[in-house]
């Protein structure tokens, strides 16, 4: 892959990670009593917007590269999402969970390097 394609693939994943964190923020808010409507709708709309940017960048990348070569870039996501969930959503991950996340990321790196 070219350097530009790699950078675009990385940028693409950032949109997906922030989109997922925003969606989860919105769905967490639905469990509050009473649910804060502005926060639920705002977060869900924001999450969908971020994922929409991800979607079109991803479609463009799919046009030019094999799926099995591109998909591994999503392997950065587990670590980024868990990190973001810990920092922004106050979720905690057990040591075994982190080992699992690390193995997923390593596996993805192996697939992408081949």
């Amino acid at each position: 892959m070219t350097a530009a394609a790699v950078l675009l693939a990385l940028l693409c994943q950032l949109f997906l990670v922030t989109g997922q964190l925003t969606l989860k923020r919105g769905m967490n808010a639905t469990r509050l009593l009473p649910p804060p409507k502005a926060r639920v709708i705002g977060s869900l709309a924001g999450g969908v917007g971020l994922l929409a940017v991800w979607f079109f960048l991803w479609l463009g990348l799919l046009r030019d590269w094999e799926l099995s070569r591109l998909f591994p870039f999503e392997g950065l996501n587990p670590a980024l999402v868990v990190l973001g969930a810990g920092l922004l959503l106050k979720e905690r991950v057990s040591p075994i969970g982190w080992i699992g996340i690390a193995m997923i990321s390593l596996g993805v790196a192996l697939v992408s390097g081949s």
Binding site: L21, R63, S68, A85, V93, I96, G97, G100, V111
Partner: protein, 144 residues
């Protein structure tokens, strides 16, 4: 939000399996896999568009495969929102990574893409990692 699932207001037994967030997670994983394969097919069979916007992949929108891919993606999104309501993001996102196994296998079986030995090893790592994350999920389920 210290426990993984919501133990309150459990639905009736007949629909409980369908509303189980782990069942919905599995459905979502299969739908995402179908979506990725359909989008790949659509992306390579779309109409040519001006180079200035081609990098956005909009040419793929002229293919019915792309729209089928979008439909399955939307369905997976609905189940994902349901999963997010009930499971921690760090748990759900770890588990949904099983698509990193399903998508390359699908690309190999259905799209004729090749998978090298190294790539198979990577897929095995992803699978093992997902199992470990699932174990932490089982542990969280077991908590009072």
């Amino acid at each position: 939000m210290s426990t993984a699932t919501d133990a309150s207001d459990r639905p009736a037994l007949s629909v409980r399996w369908f509303l189980d967030p782990y069942f919905q997670l599995a459905c979502g994983a299969l739908l995402v896999t179908a979506s990725e394969l359909l989008l790949k097919r659509g992306a390579t069979s779309g109409a040519p568009v001006p180079a200035s916007i081609a990098w956005l992949g909009v040419g793929a929108l002229s293919s019915v495969w792309t729209w089928l891919g979008i439909l399955t993606y939307l369905l997976s999104f609905a189940s994902w929102l349901y999963v997010l309501r009930h499971l921690l993001l760090s748990l759900a996102f770890g588990l949904i990574n099983v698509v990193h196994v399903l998508v390359p296998l699908g690309a190999w079986a259905l799209l004729g893409e090749t998978i090298s030995a190294r790539r198979w090893v990577g897929i095995a790592f992803v699978l093992c990692g997902t199992v470990l994350v699932a174990r932490t999920a089982a542990r969280a389920e077991g908590e009072p």
